[in-house]
């Protein structure tokens, strides 16, 4: 019966409901009042037209309108594209950097701090900085291109529908590589030394060591990071709002910016339709995350 280290719950205790309630009540009250209830109310809203002075039940009318809403589907495509590409870029570059630090190069401590600074900045700060960087006339990017004689490659990066979204994806990658790198580095450091040394003894080249030894060991961490990044990008709002607000031509429109616009910037005051968007998007995000975790976990089961 004695659980020793890691024993979870006090087995012999009859449930002291008074204490339990006392401990849980504050957190649950805030949760219910500011998360659970609003979520349900949003779903309720989605079946109504919610105007400032009255609400009319409209059944599935909002949902039908949503199905035909080109802008919504465009924003879904944009957001999902973002959530699929950015994590891959971030995690792969982070892995390379973590490996470099793991290989114990001089100045590791300094590098780690320097690479982490983008994570500390608010999206607002990042947005403004990159607005300046992408500035056509004096932004460092175009200035550097012109200095290298590649003047023909200069563009209005955030003004051209073809380059706007990739430019923003680039920014989020820039921002989150540091975070992923730090986590991966810790994962690398926690690997059992014997395995690595054994691989070295076997005269494995760097490539083989990476693919066959290190990779499988940190797989779990990599996948966790990808899922985390995916979820984060599905929610993205701040960066787009500061830089392009969804323009040009909805190239950077994400679901969150579209919801905000329909709720607070459209020419009606109706909150029902944006609630519909939120409800549908919620289902999409949940499904995507479930699919992802199912896919990753399934593979793990197959290996062992």
């Amino acid at each position: 019966m004695h659980a020793g280290a890691g024993g979870r719950r006090d087995a012999g205790l009859t449930r002291p409901w008074g204490t339990i309630t006392a401990f849980l009540l504050p957190a649950l009250t805030i949760y219910v009042a500011f998360t659970a209830y609003p979520a349900f109310r949003t779903i309720w809203n989605s079946f109504h037209r919610v105007l400032p002075r009255r609400e009319e039940a409209v059944g599935l009318a909002n949902y039908t309108e949503l199905v035909g809403d080109e802008i919504f589907w465009r924003s879904v495509r944009n957001t999902i594209a973002w959530a699929c590409t950015s994590p891959l870029i971030e995690v792969s570059i982070a892995l390379l950097l973590a490996l470099a630090l793991y290989a114990r190069i001089p100045g590791a401590r300094f590098f780690r701090v320097a690479w982490f600074t983008p994570v500390l900045m608010s999206y607002v700060v990042v947005g403004i900085l990159w607005l300046w960087i992408y500035n056509f006339d004096w932004g460092p990017l175009n200035v550097a291109l012109r200095a290298l004689g590649l003047g023909g490659w200069t563009k209005a990066w955030l003004g051209d529908p073809h380059t706007a979204l990739p430019s923003l994806i680039f920014v989020t990658s820039w921002m989150w590589v540091g975070f992923n790198m730090v986590v991966l580095l810790a994962a690398l450091h926690s690997l059992p030394k014997e395995v690595i040394e054994a691989a070295e003894l076997d005269n494995c080249g760097w490539g083989a060591k990476l693919v066959f030894v290190i990779f499988p060991l940190i797989r779990a961490t990599l996948l966790n990071l990808i899922v985390l990044s995916f979820i984060g990008k599905m929610k993205i709002f701040d960066l787009v709002w500061i830089t392009t607000k969804g323009n040009p031509l909805w190239a950077t429109e994400t679901v969150s910016t579209y919801v905000y616009k329909r709720a607070f910037e459209w020419t009606t005051f109706d909150l029902g339709y944006p609630s519909t968007i939120a409800a549908v998007w919620f289902v999409i995000v949940l499904s995507a995350v479930l699919i992802l975790t199912w896919v990753f976990r399934l593979r793990e089961k197959l290996e062992y």
Binding site: L51, P52, R53, E70, I71, N135, F136, D137, A156, L158, G159, D160, P161, H162, N247, P248, L249, W250, F264, E265, W266, T267, T268, F269
Partner: protein
Amino acid sequence: MRRTCLSTAIAAALLTVTGSGLSRAQQIKELTFWSHWAAEMPKRTFVEEAIKQFEAKNPGIRLKQTWYEKTALYAGLKTALRAGQAPDIFYAEPDQVEYMENGFLLDLSDLNWGAVEPWAKEAWSYKGKPYGLPLEAWTVELYYNKKTMADLGLTVPENLQLSPEAFLDMIKKARGKGITPMALGVGDRPYPGAHVVHEALLKKLGVEDYDKLLKGKVAWSDPRVVDTLKWVRGLIEVGMLPNTFTTLKLAEAHIYFHTNPGALTFLNGSWYTSRAFNPPDKGGQPKDFPLGIMKFPAVPGAVCNECRSIAVGGSYVANAETKHAKEVLAFLNSFLSFEMGNRWLDVVQVQTGIKSDPAKLTGPQAADYFKMIAHTNAGAKYYFGIPIQVLNGKPKEVFIQVMNNAFPAGTISVDDAIKQMAAAY
């Protein structure tokens, strides 16, 4: 004994002081006032002085002013109105029908409408009642740099309207010398890019059919529309607009035209003056800038080359839930007089919805400028409102993205643009 006498005396004194303070406080009514134009000094000065004058004539009323930039103002109002925290008087433009549809605005029928131009009153009418005070009115003008024009060896004809061929030639010549033919930017506004398109369409179709087009009764695939868009496309392809068009902000576009790097022309509302006539270090045009104004060029095959848009711009509206309706109406009424109208013309140098007469202006700069405006507006046939004031909901949103942004930027073809517009209705 003395102590109690003293304390009673003090208490009595305090009571009288606070008592009178209270009654004075009760007498002063404070109206909250939110407005755009935080950085447009002529307009802001005009309104601030009007407020001061009003407060002097009405000692029991004070206005608490907050000045905003337009985007911040609109964002704040949208939520404040919903939350019941909106100010008593605020700035609005006639395209914001959602305010009237949701009953947020006070009915202004009791104002002195005899002092207002009928078409300006019409712009703010909803279900037969007026809801806004049309302070600012403006036309779309084609400003140009006289010196640059002369340097290129070009002349503007007597009637101030270039033929399509001459206009195209002008653009080519300017580009040839590395000068941007027309400064224009849609970085932070939903209408400047569309000026090229809607002025051209208005001339080609004439007032009635243009109106029908905007309201969805004439198809965007109509051959006249297609021809016009093709013509505009031709101008874009020769490089009429700056390459920073999509990200250039409104204030920056002004500076692009008159200071750095300098463009040949600038298609802007006649309220150009409210930014350009600021001192140069506050974003204004350089002293002695050779400003000229001409008409929008003639459009090939146009039915009405003298047609042009006139729009009501910045106006003031009142909160339907204000607790000081009488005072609010009195304040708004203080603007509705011939003297105020002319004073606006003098100080701000933009047209107004209030009845006024530019010919009676005394200040030299204003008089000259209005002579030029009068010249370009001579014999004009007006259409009231720019597209974003006429369109609503989805068509408006698509129009902003397509006709204001993507089409002038050259990123979509004529066919795509037409398809998107048609699908929006």
